[in-house]
Symmetry: C2
């Protein structure tokens, strides 16, 4: 008898983990990060991810330096989703016996560049030998002085936003697959999609700005696709999300790439995953305040994509007003 | 060109990690745990380990429940080495596609039992699919109110102690290997050695008692063998350690087992590893105080094994007073 990842996680949640508030634990399993600390204004955020070669990345076409950057970016995005300030990383790696040192040094150079861009420090880790490359990253961050943004606060009447174009990473991955990693002959315009997959930019600074605005009711990063990640907010907040198809942002080149690659644009946007943008809900009536606050805080653009209603589940509304449920039903991560 | 674990770690230490005290970092890479926090009396300890099937354990002979317990114990021991109080765990696991759910549930039951024995909570993790089982564990603990015990404080005249019998785990592993995991016919007396390997007990409570005594200058857990782990204290403190051969504690049955298995008892004790005992230095003149404090604090026995001198390196002194250097020269972990 084998076991699905989902039922294993269910078992862990019920039997092993605890979400109770004990000994300095403020929030256990069930958000982008867990939150702990001894004072409510000085708490710490922690999150961990495991990335396996040929499951989460492919060394064949992922340049080592960019894989190093992405190894860190994925976890920075979890801190961004809580509005936090990333500080420390622990990085463990299992390496097959005959990895080239050139590859490894480039990978570490990528890790290092990302750490330094976000003013973070590597404070621990482990290196071991294994059959396949396995990267385990843990990030620790401080909460923003203004608070911690959870998935739980969305309410009827809130407006849903995303922080940038969606579906890019999924299309970029498909371009890499179709060309077996050789992107030397692809159209210049498509490079933005490939880059979104290979070298994503976590929305750390925007996350902090949104937190500082004081007007966000719920936030989450888009790692598994908008439908999945918004489903988490809906489930945790006990609400329904309506997203309007014509408002969903993407790079203009996505349409053309999807046509050529025989992908459905909407699938890339809703289910593609790995965009590492943020999806967040602005408290009813505060849309203008947040839009202006974000504009004056930096070079950010945010996109209004829908609204929170009573009920549950995520629904996509087309131009005619017809709705279909797109709530995610598949696997989910432990955190 | 391939790369040794040691040179990779050297590269990481020099180019990627930082030991500088920034943004709440109190102690970076270079001890059993890193230490961070915003107040000097309320800091947090963090450590991580990666365990790979057939490298760090063998599913063939490691009962799943005991492997679950050991997955947690290894990290508890790092907290014990700093005198800290373990609080939270993050546990990521890569599972081959056809793991039996029975095996996994037993493994998780072991994880759970160890967490509950030490009053810890699982607050995050990840489950992924891979070719081999890979377990990545991160532990977070609080510092003891009396302070944090580092590797750096040993001074000339201090007395070296260990917390229990050594070499047991190495001999236990050898018994398992020789019997291909079938221990049903081994001598009853040998079971204590096998248990030391399969289900080690981290010295968490003793670590706290030693910290509270206020008389310990340096401490470290014995995960890679006494010679290696004491070498770390010597290097970080800038001192020499002399250990007296006849004082090194081991279970009486170790002699017999070593003879039968054709192992050198001293190799098991000095280089065997995985005993998860503590090695610590008592400040000059405080031996009686510590011994009495430990005795009245619980069911602990500690063993005086040597002394700290000026110089560097670890030396073994035999009954005649002859010394040989046993400083460890091999691999080391990042933390």
């Amino acid at each position: 008898m084998t076991l699905s990842e989902r039922s294993l996680i269910e078992h862990i949640r019920k039997n092993v983990a605890s979400s109770s508030v004990v000994n300095g634990l403020i929030k256990g399993i069930g958000d982008d990060c867990s939150v702990f600390g001894k004072s409510p204004t000085g708490s710490w955020l922690v999150s961990t991810d495991m990335l396996v070669d040929r499951v989460h990345f492919n060394r064949k076409w992922h340049p080592p330096r960019l894989l190093g950057r992405k190894s860190i970016a994925v976890n920075l995005s979890d801190i961004a989703a809580m509005g936090g300030v990333p500080r420390f990383f622990l990085l463990s790696v299992s390496l097959p016996p005959r990895m080239s040192s050139e590859w490894l040094f480039q990978w570490l150079d990528g890790v290092s560049s990302m750490l330094s861009e976000y003013d973070c420090v590597l404070i621990g880790g482990d290196t071991v030998t294994g059959k396949e490359m396995n990267i385990s990253v843990t990030v620790l961050g401080e909460q923003h002085p203004a608070g911690v943004l959870y998935r739980t606060g969305a309410e009827e009447g809130d407006t849903i936003y995303v922080s940038g174009p969606l579906g890019s990473s999924a299309a970029g991955l498909e371009i890499l697959k179709k060309n077996d990693g050789d992107t030397s002959h692809i159209k210049n315009a498509w490079e933005i999609l490939v880059k979104a997959h290979l070298d994503p930019i976590p929305q750390v600074h925007l996350g902090q700005v949104l937190c500082a605005s004081g007007c966000i009711s719920a936030m989450q990063d888009i790692s598994d696709g908008l439908a999945t990640d918004l489903s988490h907010i809906c489930k945790e907040s006990g609400v329904r999300a309506i997203i309007q198809e014509q408002r969903l942002p993407s790079f203009p080149v996505l349409d053309e790439a999807c046509e050529t690659l025989q992908l459905r644009r909407l699938d890339c946007i809703l289910r593609g995953g790995e965009d590492y943008q943020l999806v967040f809900c602005v408290k009813k009536g505060n849309e203008k305040i947040v839009e202006e606050y974000v504009k004056k805080s930096g070079d950010f653009v945010i996109y209004q994509v829908g609204a929170i209603e009573k009920g549950h589940g995520v629904f996509l509304e087309d131009e005619k007003g017809d709705r279909q449920e797109v709530t995610f039903q598949g696997y989910e991560h432990l955190v």
